[in-house]
Amino acid sequence: MNSDQNLIAIKNISVDFSFQENFLSKKQKIRAVKNVSLNIKKGSFVGLVGESGSGKTTLGRAILAANKISSGKVIFHDDDKDYDLTNISKQELKEYRKKAQLIFQDPYSALSPRMTVRDIIAEPLEVMKITNTREETDKRVREIASKCRLNLEHLRRFPHAFSGGQRQRISIARALVSNPKFIVADESVAALDVSIQADILNLLKSLRKELNLTYLFISHDLSVVAHVCDVVAVMYLGHIVEMAPSRELFKNPRHSYTKALLSSIPSIDPEKQSNAIELKGEIPSAMNPPSGCVFRTRCPNPTHDCKEGNIEMGLIEVSAGHWVDQCCVNCV
């Protein structure tokens, strides 16, 4: 297995949403993800960080073919076959669904309250016809449930019997039951208490080793991302503005937005007073983004060219594996 092989190659994709107030008014287009390129290596744990409106959830779902990709290419390099998500047949999509799954954020709404835990975990197997008999299904369900450290006696209970952390483990079991290669974890620990969060993150890490998984971990919480991810990409208003191995990113942030984000994280040490870099104004509307560098309206120290919107966005590699949007490369 070539560990340098990209599992997923994302090239210049954009995802648009059309927005129509009522069926008599004009259709408007919102570009939620703009010209994003990203390579996800096999076995890696890639973090996607951003605040609200950054487009990270949209990007994650687009890679799973849950949102329509308006332009660009996404290629999933499986062991024996390549899947082009922008040009995929129905049959291929069915196969792809077995290999790429999603773990939701909210453990309370992600599980159908009227199905037993066993049925919830078994549903992908039955829908995708992975197993043929009830015995096979049950065996597979028990196997994956014990990997996620779920008590097997609890399989016949309903979701209302479980706490947030346990429900999230059920969600994870459901995502893993079809033996996927790629998992998108969309804010999967955001709704959990801190002590449970650590538990789930450790579970995800151990499962990655055990089952050879590749993760795309979407979160707004930088400290969580720092601990579990190998590579982190920072998004703002639909663009990736900086991307680097996580240690490098946290030690040497180059983009102004990344610097502001990192400075805003409150420190657990009460002695260390926060010196958060203040960002003026509000995040612009996605319907009417600023021209040129989208961050220029809030950047704490823009140059004249930045402010005019003369510089087009695009990532430049400033050091090994460390990519920064060219607007900030030119500033110091």
Binding site: Q101, D106, S112, R114, H154, A161
Partner: protein, 397 residues
Amino acid sequence: MEAKIQNIHKDIKAKEAYFSATQFQLIYARFRSNRSAMIAGLFLLIMVFLGVFADFISPYDPTIAGRDKDYEHGAPQIPLFWDDNGFSLRPFLYTLERYRGKDTNFRWVYKLNKEKEKRRYVYLFPKGWKHKALAFNVNLPGKKFDFKIPGFTFERHLFGIDSGGIHLFGTDKAGKDIFSRTLHAIYISLAVGTIGVFIAFVLALIIGGISGYFGGWIDGVMQMITDTVRVIPPIPLFMVLASFAPSEWSSETRFFFIASILGLIGWPTLARRVRTHLLSERSQEYVLAAKLCGASPSHIISRHLLPSFTSYIIVDLVISFPYMVLSETALSFIGLGLREPVNSLGVLLQNATRADVLLNYQWYFIPVIFFIVLVLSFVFVGDGLRDSADPYKVLKK
């Protein structure tokens, strides 16, 4: 210590039961703790029982065929166990004698003869008028739709009297026993309500279901149709539709026709509820999770959407029932609904508007009490169901 362990075991069992309870078990448990709903449910069951077994319980044929010529406009006769002449295990009634004489100005009056020998005893399971069970005779316009199921013929009834008549609720102008007519009215109203609700429900499921599941412009168009039908004023619409029914139709045909009209008027409200439920359930995350596995629409509908709104729909159905019953009563009361010999509350009340009835023969209104109980029972049970309908509502932190 023993007791503590026992308590812990009981607790564990109870908790496990709670954790593995299906949705319906949870709903039932909540319903049971609602006292007014349980009492109303009991009354409802009694009413339904009375209605279904109306033929057996009523001592007389409710139509003209069973009238008691000797006891017209008769007051209710309550059986006694005890009087001046002594105690009797079997309840009895006094004999009524008609008497005309100089002191009454030669008008016929009834006098009670309280002599012991003239007592009439009530007894159980006598042979009485013939009635049919499970017989079905549909006589719709056009020979094609007629069909007949002969069913079984019974002669036994719950109670009767050795001679003369026993009229627990009195009789009306023609001598028809009001008790029997009340029971039959309950049966007819329940039957009309059931058919009406059924028709409304089927229509609501189809239209509301398509609207809610597909959304978009289909939803917009369907909603416009629904709103149009809903906005038509019901009473004039009833009157127009009902007056179109030709009078040659048999009473049974008329029965189906009225029930169908009720269904056709009642579907918009139900349809809107179905649509609302579907729209909110569709956007649940677990539906998206199923879609991400490639689940087909039929799988999503049957596995996720339908179970989620079944409890709500049952509530909606139970709550629609009283409206159907009351609408039919109103129609029949003004003469546009059911007619003799099929009698419902509205038919029973048709004759109750005259002054001499109001002044002298108040027992004509006894059926009203039954209907109030019936409708209220539906309402309370519906409310109780609605409160316990969604056991998962308060679960989010």
